[in-house]
């Protein structure tokens, strides 16, 4: 909306209207809620991790190689997403879109490996969501993150279309910025998935 924020005119474009500032703060609060959501899933996983009902346990399933590939793909995508915002703040629309596309591609790569991992577990090792409490919580936790990544990919895609249509203005800049926050946040969640699910699952 068109009300101009009163103070600090040297703020980036995405902060330039009052409504934009409201949206960005609102999104941060939403991320706080997401923290609680993922914390609940983590708590569930950690409570149920030893309850395998005779099915395969973490140490039999997890494989460091796949997980590391997934981790680096997502870490890099978070970096490129940061570069996109960096370009946007320099007013470079083309650079921004370029980095956003790289981000999406890395995200798709991540999803590819994750889906392959899931199929490996489910089809080849017979470890599905219905096998045991451990696997229910594993698939739900990692799957919820994967679902978020999927949503993020489509979201960024939609925003790229809007930028192409309207150019960089206060509204589109805000949207790019907020979606970048979302993307970085997914990386934060993945760090904990990597640590609390995969590494601790493989440690003993």
């Amino acid at each position: 909306m068109s009300e101009i924020a009163p103070k600090q005119s040297n703020l980036p474009l995405e902060y330039s209207t009052k409504q934009n500032q409201l949206n960005i703060l609102g999104f941060w609060i939403f991320l706080g809620a997401e923290l609680a959501l993922f914390a609940t899933l983590f708590a569930t996983y950690l409570v149920l991790v030893s309850r395998t009902a005779g099915g395969p346990g973490p140490e039999e399933l997890y494989e460091l190689k796949t997980v590391l590939i997934e981790t680096f793909l997502l870490l890099t995508s978070s970096f490129t997403c940061g570069l996109a915002v960096y370009e946007m703040r320099r007013g470079k629309q083309a650079g921004m879109i370029g980095w956003l596309i790289v981000t999406i591609l890395l995200g798709i790569g991540f999803l590819y490996f994750e889906i392959e991992e899931f199929i490996l577990y489910a089809v080849h090792e017979g470890a599905t969501m219905q096998t045991s409490a451990f696997l229910s919580s594993f698939f739900t936790l990692v799957g919820t993150h994967g679902l978020h990544v999927t949503i993020g990919i489509f979201w960024i895609l939609i925003i790229i279309l809007q930028v192409l249509k309207r150019g960089l203005n206060a509204d589109t800049a805000r949207k790019v910025f907020i979606s970048s926050l979302y993307w970085h946040f997914l990386d934060v969640v993945w760090i904990f998935l990597f640590t609390l699910v995969y590494l601790t699952g493989m440690v003993s």
């Binding site: 909306m1 068109s2 009300e3 009052k18 500032q21 409201l22 949206n23 703060l25 609102g26 609060i29 939403f30 706080g32 809620a33 997401e34 609680a36 959501l37 609940t40 899933l41 708590a43 569930t44 409570v47 149920l48 309850r51 395998t52 009902a53 969501m129 219905q130 096998t131 045991s132 409490a133 451990f134 229910s136 919580s137 739900t140 939609i158 925003i159 809007q162 309207r166 509204d171 949207k175």
Partner: protein
């Protein structure tokens, strides 16, 4: 599925309800068509993003739900009045107490509170609307359709019957087959979306949209309470969302989170439920504290005593309330260290609450106390809530709780806090802010009749239940033998419940009476109020403030009035066009898709569920591509509206 499994059959009470529902729908359709009001309904209400109208819709829905939950309560009391009663059978009784609990907490208390917040908060801080008016409408409609989904369970498919706490494994597929429990899961899930969005909305509104000069420590207490409540909503509701989703997966997709098979842990449901559930209690009670603070200080004509302490005690509650959830299941065998920790943390939370009670008392001290209806509700709150509070401390003592747990002592305690806190507060708020909502004042005489029936009835109903607890009467039993010795007190309790019902009827009479013959509030400030909402005309104009007020301290409007009395010259207001958000029908339509998706999942008709979800996603995409900058209210219109005021 056969039709007689789809519709609930075989119960005369249900057939009567069926008939009532059909007749009501026909009646509403007829009236709307006859008076040509369809367009009005769509343009003025279904698509509105105005926080005041959304607040009114919240309150209307909440009152309807209060009626439904109240009827449930009366049916339960009727069944328990005498021993070995056969008025209701066990199954029916279980369904009724389950829906009573769920509806009263999630579809009555919460929306009533959100309704009051919607009406009062933007006006108290001098804002034009909430931060995200579009999302505000979405909040309401997701709540509305979530509640609708839950409520149709009693005519279509069967009601949930595992208690509002829905402990596993009882609520699982094996022990609760059929769609009933799914209704609970999906109804709560959909309305939970609305609660989360509302929480975010109010935090941003309060943090960023206060009138110039209104620092945090100059905010009205109700606004503070809303801020803290909203923070709790935002951080507690995701836990419920996950818990519900996991149980849905268990029931519909065969996973093993809380099941007995597959090594699931049923206890973990209780754990997650109460991680949300305890903050939820404070979500229901903190806004009540806010309302009482406003009302007490207005009608004692005195500034709130110990404002700073009040604020900090609320902040303390927001931190501590996340650390007490285990006191709901001390008896689940968490070891002594766990129980001891949660015992002490629960007792500790009583301290900030106690501080607040004394602050209210000393606000009254040296005041000039005027006994209006709103004030009566607030005053009655103090002694009755103290009883609820001290029994809460008694329950928090783990070793003693092994005896109190699951008895009527517990039932009496939480009704004592939730009714004396939340229900008294929303009634006080209704009387207090009614002129601001509708421009008329609720009739005081009828208000007082309501008050005395309800408050006396409340005490007659619930004080005996403490005693019943000591006599070993467990909660949730549908009948008891004659030799248990519980009969007399149960009879008394039922009498109290009937009195509360009469009180509610008088409230409804009052609303109808006031609609036709109510006294108009022409001043905009009928109570000689202290906060900014009383500085504008009643009912509040749709743009709220013609000129954004300048705030110089706590109780901004009181200070302005004082300055005026001292003869300080008022600046002539200079009107500018006011920017307003446009209406949108999408929140309503999107919520219908949520409803369709939920309904599909309840009956496990996946195509229906998928259609609903696709509809939701399309609505979200459309919203993303929408660039609507709203519109401006012209100066002429503002001048006209403002001139109508004395």
């Amino acid at each position: 599925m056969k039709w007689d499994e789809f519709f609930v059959t075989g119960e005369p009470l249900i057939y009567m309800a069926d008939a009532a529902i059909v007749l009501t729908i026909i009646g509403i359709v007829f009236v709307l068509t006859y008076f040509k009001k369809w367009k009005w309904l769509w343009k003025e209400w279904l698509t509105t993003v105005d926080h005041k109208k959304i607040g009114i819709m919240y309150i209307i829905s909440a009152v309807l739900m209060l009626f439904r939950g109240g009827v449930d309560a009366l049916l339960m009391r009727a069944q328990l009045t005498v021993p070995n009663n056969t008025f209701l059978d066990s199954q029916h009784y279980n369904e009724i107490f389950t829906t009573h609990g769920t509806i009263m907490i999630l579809f009555m208390a919460m929306p009533f509170i959100f309704g009051i917040m919607n009406i009062a908060v933007p006006l108290q801080i001098g804002a034009r609307d909430v931060a995200f008016p579009y999302l505000n409408a979405l909040s309401f409609w997701t709540f509305f359709f979530g509640a609708l989904l839950f409520n149709i369970s009693f005519v279509i498919g069967g009601s949930p019957d595992a208690g509002w706490t829905a402990y596993m494994p009882l609520a699982g597929n094996e022990l609760s087959p059929g769609p009933g429990q799914n209704y609970y899961l999906l109804g709560l899930q959909i309305s939970g979306i609305g609660s989360l969005i509302s929480g975010i909305n109010f935090i941003v509104t309060i943090l960023k949209m206060r009138a110039p000069g209104m620092t945090l420590m100059r905010m009205p207490m109700f606004t503070w309470a809303t801020l803290i409540t909203s923070i709790l909503v935002v951080f507690a509701f995701p836990v419920l969302t996950v818990a519900l989703a996991l149980m849905t997966l268990d029931r519909i997709f065969g996973t093993h989170f809380f099941t007995l098979s597959g090594d699931g842990v049923p206890m973990h449901w209780a754990n997650l439920f109460w991680i949300w559930g305890h903050p939820e209690v404070y979500i229901a009670i903190l806004p009540a504290f806010g309302v009482f603070s406003e009302v007490v200080s207005t009608f004692a004509r005195k500034r709130l005593f110990g404002y700073t302490a009040m604020v900090w005690s609320m902040v303390a509650i927001s931190v501590l309330s996340m650390l007490v959830w285990v006191h709901h299941f001390f008896t689940m065998g968490s070891g002594a260290p766990v129980n001891a920790f949660f015992s002490v943390s629960t007792m500790a939370i009583a301290i900030p609450t106690g501080v607040k009670i004394f602050n209210w008392l000393f606000t009254l001290y040296k005041g000039r106390i005027k006994f209006t209806s709103a004030m009566l509700w607030s005053l009655a709150f103090i002694p009755t809530f103290v009883i609820g509070g001290v029994t809460g401390v008694m329950l928090s003592m783990a070793a003693a709780d092994y005896q109190y747990h699951n008895t009527y002592f517990l039932v009496a305690h939480f009704h004592n806090t939730l009714i004396c806190g939340t229900v008294f507060a929303v009634f006080a708020a209704l009387h207090y802010w009614y002129p601001k909502m509708f421009g008329v004042i609720l009739n005081e005489k009828l208000g007082k009749i309501t008050f005395w029936f309800f408050v006396l009835g409340f005490n007659v109903c619930f004080l005996p239940q403490y005693v019943l607890g000591f006599m070993g009467m467990p909660r949730r039993i549908y009948t008891y033998p004659a030799d248990a010795g519980w009969t007399e007190l149960n009879v008394i309790s039922t009498i109290g419940a009937v009195m509360m019902g009469i009180g509610f009827i008088f409230l409804c009479i009052n609303v109808v009476y006031t609609y036709f013959k109510g006294e108009r509030d022409l001043t905009g400030d009928p109570w000689d109020g202290r906060t900014l909402e009383w500085s504008i005309p009643s009912p509040a104009p749709h743009y709220n403030f013609a000129v954004t007020p300048q705030v110089k301290g706590l109780d901004a409007w009181w200070m302005m009035k004082k300055e005026r009395k001292e003869g300080k010259e008022e600046e002539k207001p200079e009107y500018k066009p006011i920017h307003m958000p446009s209406n949108s029908g999408r929140p309503f339509i999107m919520s219908i898709f949520f409803f369709i998706a939920g309904f599909g999942l309840v009956f496990e008709w996946m195509p229906v569920a998928i259609i609903g979800l696709i509809g939701v996603i399309i609505c979200m995409i459309l919203r993303s591509f929408e660039y609507d900058d709203g519109y401006y209210v012209p100066v002429e219109e503002i001048k006209q509206t403002e001139a109508g005021r004395e």
